[in-house]
Amino acid sequence: MHIPDGYLGPATSGVMYVVMLPIWAVASRVAKKTLKAKQVPLLAIAAAFSFVVMMFNVPIPGGTTGHATGAALAAILLGPWAACIAVTVALVVQALLFGDGGITAIGANCFNMAFIEVFAGYYLYKLISGSSSVTSFRRVIAAGIAGYVAINIAALSAAIMFGIQPLLYKTASGHSLYCPYGLNVAIPAMLGEHMLIFGWVEALITALVIKYLQKQDPSLLEAQEEVSI
């Protein structure tokens, strides 16, 4: 889901930067207000986890690859705004040091994975958890569903960005200037593979880590409860 340089035209990547700027600004402000010193190690861990889990490319035999992102998990543990910062840092490091995701597409990739996926994951988890206790099994299920749905919404958002390029940029000869695949190809491809495979990977890691923390240190799951927007 890391859109490389060249797939999005300048208008699309520019707009996504402009959209992300106020989101990053709010994230910083909220973090400044609510982030407690004892949460900082967990924030670093969530970012590092997000970075490394994206290196686990899961193959579709004979087809493409994809991976989980850890974004919903970060949101559940830290709240959406702090998680936005954590996943943004992971994505920026991937783009700058490893060329994974384009420089011009940092705004777009952060919008998909550090904003859409983080917020979708957070609110779905909250909604499904309801008032259940932090150690309840319902929360494990909530985490899994949040991970699955959130990554699929992010994949859909990326697919829309890919898919509108042929509409926006065409040469006189009818060739696309940037991503040549329209919505009719990009959406089924991106959504299909995430619904079939990668969404389940995200669901599994999100649910398993929550399950582990319920046993190991439920206070980490409670800490988030106090952090409001």
């Binding site: 900082v40 986890f49 490319n57 910062i85 384009g102 890919f162 991106m190």
Partner: protein, 110 residues
């Protein structure tokens, strides 16, 4: 043991296992992620290389492109795996340091 220490150990284990993300796709003959092909691949995919895409695709040359060392292309899966683990360690370290720096910067301002 503190939970954070255990979680860091878990991340260390993930870094060591990360080559699975390289070896499994290779084994199952899975190609690039959808929408992450190199510019040249478009010749096979759609018959031409989109001009703008070709120009922008080489905009940035990352120091460790695709988690692999430059000039190690001949070293096979073992070499690639080593580079992958090294990349994971570097990436985890840089990411964690940046987050801590940002958190420090945010909390100091008050």
């Amino acid at each position: 043991m503190k939970t954070t220490v255990k979680l860091w150990i878990g991340i260390g284990v993930l870094a060591l296992l990360s080559p699975l993300g390289l070896i499994l796709p290779e084994h199952f003959k899975a190609g690039d992620a959808w929408g992450e092909w190199g510019a040249d691949t478009f010749k096979e995919l759609v018959g031409y290389i989109p001009q703008g895409l070709e120009k922008l695709s080489s905009l940035w040359s990352a120091p460790i492109p695709d988690y692999a060392f430059k000039g190690w292309e001949e070293k096979g899966l073992a070499g690639l795996s080593f580079a992958y683990i090294t990349s994971a360690v570097i990436g985890i370290f840089v990411t964690a340091c940046l987050v801590i720096l940002i958190a420090k910067f945010l909390s100091k301002k008050d």
